[in-house]
């Protein structure tokens, strides 16, 4: 049980670094509170797994410190850090039975066989492995093997944190859903810090209280799923989260106002300074309405998803997507769009301007 702090953390797999892109992870500063359920969300190759491996101690970071409860652990190995980690693909010990696999982390720590037994049975019960405990682990399906991997991560009750590196990749969708709720349930029961790496926003948003979004090695935003949806701090969060993603339209500043296509746009805060090379207005499709006046657009197409209609429109500064209610009348041809002021943000060089 510990609060995990990462301080000015950067890691590169190269010997020398010349540009930002040479870093797999750069300038990460974050606190993971004790007992929190976190999701580390980002596309493939953004540095999620590297960050996870740095926390667990499998990788030594190029720069920066890792602290558990304000104690330096940068030089400690995974065993000393007392971390459990579950990997993307099932790792099992072929020659052992399911029971021995689950007991392995405990036996390595020289725990009494009695305690091991009760612990293993408890975990096996939870993961529905009880009936296969005496089978050879290598005979199981991919699902079963990954459950063993999960079980080995969960079997120790004193760990500082449990980390999941896209653990449900190989699991079929139905079981995925069950296991995810199991993990959530387990989190509430044992109250350990859990960090869940994924590139799937649904998985992240349903599992975690706090979602950490990574993009090109940097943490771009940390917040609740609602925060990420309502107020993305980086354009990447805007379009990575949500379906469809946020509309981003190039804009300019004139006389202390934000101008889009020569029209003044009301945004959630007044933006004055302009020292950016690129400025954009960002607004989610959910926060756009049709109106009698506003931004002139041409309606291009409407697709009905059942729950709502997604309308593609073309404005002078680019395409704008909006979401309309299923029973709403969609004007054909020309129309006007209104942005909800409190959910309309301005981004300078991809970061929110406040």
């Amino acid at each position: 049980m510990a609060k995990i702090t990462l301080k000015d953390l950067s890691h590169s797999y190269l010997k020398t670094q010349s540009s930002d892109t040479d870093w797999a992870v750069r300038n990460v500063n974050i606190d993971w509170n004790d007992g929190g359920a976190y999701a580390l969300l980002g596309p493939s190759g953004c540095g999620k797994t590297t960050l996870l491996n740095i926390i667990s101690g499998l990788i030594n970071p190029t720069k920066g410190d890792i602290l558990f409860d304000d104690k330096m652990v940068s030089n400690l190995n995974p065993v000393q850090r007392n971390i459990a980690q579950i990997f993307q693909f099932p790792v099992i010990y072929d020659t052992m039975t399911v029971y021995d696999n689950l007991a392995f982390p405990l036996r390595n720590r020289e725990i009494e066989e009695e305690k091991i037994k009760s612990k293993v049975h408890e975990i096996a019960e939870m993961l529905e492995l009880s009936s296969t405990l005496n089978n050879r682990a290598s005979g199981l399906t991919a699902d079963g093997k990954q459950k063993i991997s999960l079980g080995r991560g969960l079997v120790r009750s004193d760990v500082n944190a449990i980390m999941f590196d896209e653990p449900l990749t190989v699991i079929d969708p139905h079981l995925k859903w069950i296991l995810r709720s199991k993990l959530k349930e387990l989190h509430q029961k044992i109250n350990r810090t859990m960090i869940y790496v994924t590139h799937d926003q649904t998985e992240a948003l349903t599992f975690a209280d706090q979602v950490v979004v990574m993009h090109e090695g940097q943490i771009v935003q940390t917040g609740t799923p609602v925060d990420l949806f309502e107020k993305p701090k980086h354009t990447f969060v805007g379009y990575f989260i949500g379906s469809p993603g946020m509309n981003l339209l190039p804009c300019e500043f004139k006389g202390g106002e934000v101008i889009l296509n020569g029209k003044k746009i009301e945004t959630h805060k007044k933006v004055k300074s302009n020292s950016f090379s690129k400025t954009e207005i960002g607004v989610r499709p959910e926060f756009i309405n049709f109106g009698s006046e506003g931004i002139p657009v041409k309606v291009l197409s409407v697709s009905n998803t059942g729950r709502h209609k997604i309308v593609d429109t073309q404005s002078e500064s680019g395409k704008i997507k909006m979401i309309a209610k299923p029973n709403e009348n969609i004007p054909s041809g020309s129309a006007f769009l209104n942005f909800k002021k409190e959910y309309t943000y301005v981004y300078g060089d991809d970061w929110i301007i406040e």
């Binding site: 499998l58 995974p78 065993v79 459990a84 980690q85 010990y93 982390p105 290598s138």
Partner: protein
């Protein structure tokens, strides 16, 4: 699925059958021919039944060379397999060291058998060879041409030098195919180095080690050229393994009948051991 029965399919087996007939069955048949008959040349044969087989099975000479053969094979397996695994474990996993080590390791494998024999013969000669001379200079009474122990020592050393690389390369390939996640998981699970070896590396190497043991068994059990060039089977008959003894009997004494019978017995021993070994390994596989 219903299989179509069509006897014409046999037709397609003919090319393989002809090939196998020419490279295996027909030559083997001539041996079978000699094993059951007596000949004095001029293609005159007399039926002898199982006489040669009985003679060989009861001959002390055959028992002795068979015993030497098994002893030799077990000793070299016992040294080469663990040594090969140990070397493979210490080899670098990435970087410039990998090709360097691989090339160095495959060098002995590229040298022809009789060259290996000649090389070690000269290397180990007590008066002029580097190894022989050095050992004597260090105070050891070493002479592989005269002393049985020294002859065995040199033969085994030569075989270890020549063939351990094969085990190394196979084990190394097995080790390289292990996903890094296994080592990471073991690290997280707090596994000791020994546990990593016995629970991850050894099970993952099982298949290549099966091949390595099988190959080394067969090769060493049929070894001929190297000891023939090194010791010529001597001193006395001390290093006359099965093949050497067989050639002596067949070509030295021209006892074609007993030699043919011995060949067949020899062949069946190799076949039997390989079959037993393979079946045991495969049965383990099936249990998993």
């Amino acid at each position: 699925m219903n299989k179509t029965i069509n006897q014409k399919a046999w037709f397609f087996v003919i090319p393989v059958f002809v090939l196998v007939a020419f490279n295996a069955i027909i030559p083997l048949m001539t041996v079978v021919n000699y094993a059951f008959q007596e000949t004095f040349g001029n293609n005159v044969f007399m039926w002898e039944g199982t006489r040669w087989f009985k003679q060989i099975m009861l001959s002390e000479r055959f028992h002795a060379s068979l015993g030497r053969q098994f002893l030799f094979t077990f000793i070299i397996l016992f040294i080469q397999i663990p040594l090969g695994i140990a070397i493979a474990l210490t080899m670098p996993k990435e970087g410039i060291g990998v090709p360097v080590c691989l090339v160095l390791m495959s060098m002995p494998l590229l040298i022809p058998w009789n060259v290996v024999g000649a090389m070690w013969n000269i290397f180990a000669l007590p008066d002029i060879g580097f190894l022989g001379h050095s050992l004597n200079a260090l105070g050891f009474d070493y002479n592989f041409t005269q002393q049985i122990g020294d002859a065995w020592f040199t033969t085994i050393l030569m075989d270890v030098w020549h063939w351990t690389s094969l085990v190394v390369l196979l084990s190394y390939a097995g080790l390289q195919s292990i996903q890094p996640a296994y080592y990471q998981a073991a690290e997280i699970d707090g596994a000791s180095r020994w546990a990593v070896f016995t629970k991850i590396e050894l099970p993952k190497m099982k298949k290549v080690l099966t091949i390595a043991i099988l190959l080394r068994f067969m090769d060493s059990f049929m070894i001929y050229t190297e000891p023939f060039v090194l010791t010529g089977g001597g001193p006395g008959n001390a290093t006359a393994f099965l093949s050497i003894d067989l050639v002596k009997m067949a070509l030295g004494q021209f006892d074609l009948g007993p030699a043919a019978a011995m060949s067949l017995i020899y062949f069946f021993i190799v076949l039997l051991v390989c079959w037993v070994f393979y079946t045991l390994m495969m049965r383990n596989e099936g249990n998993q």
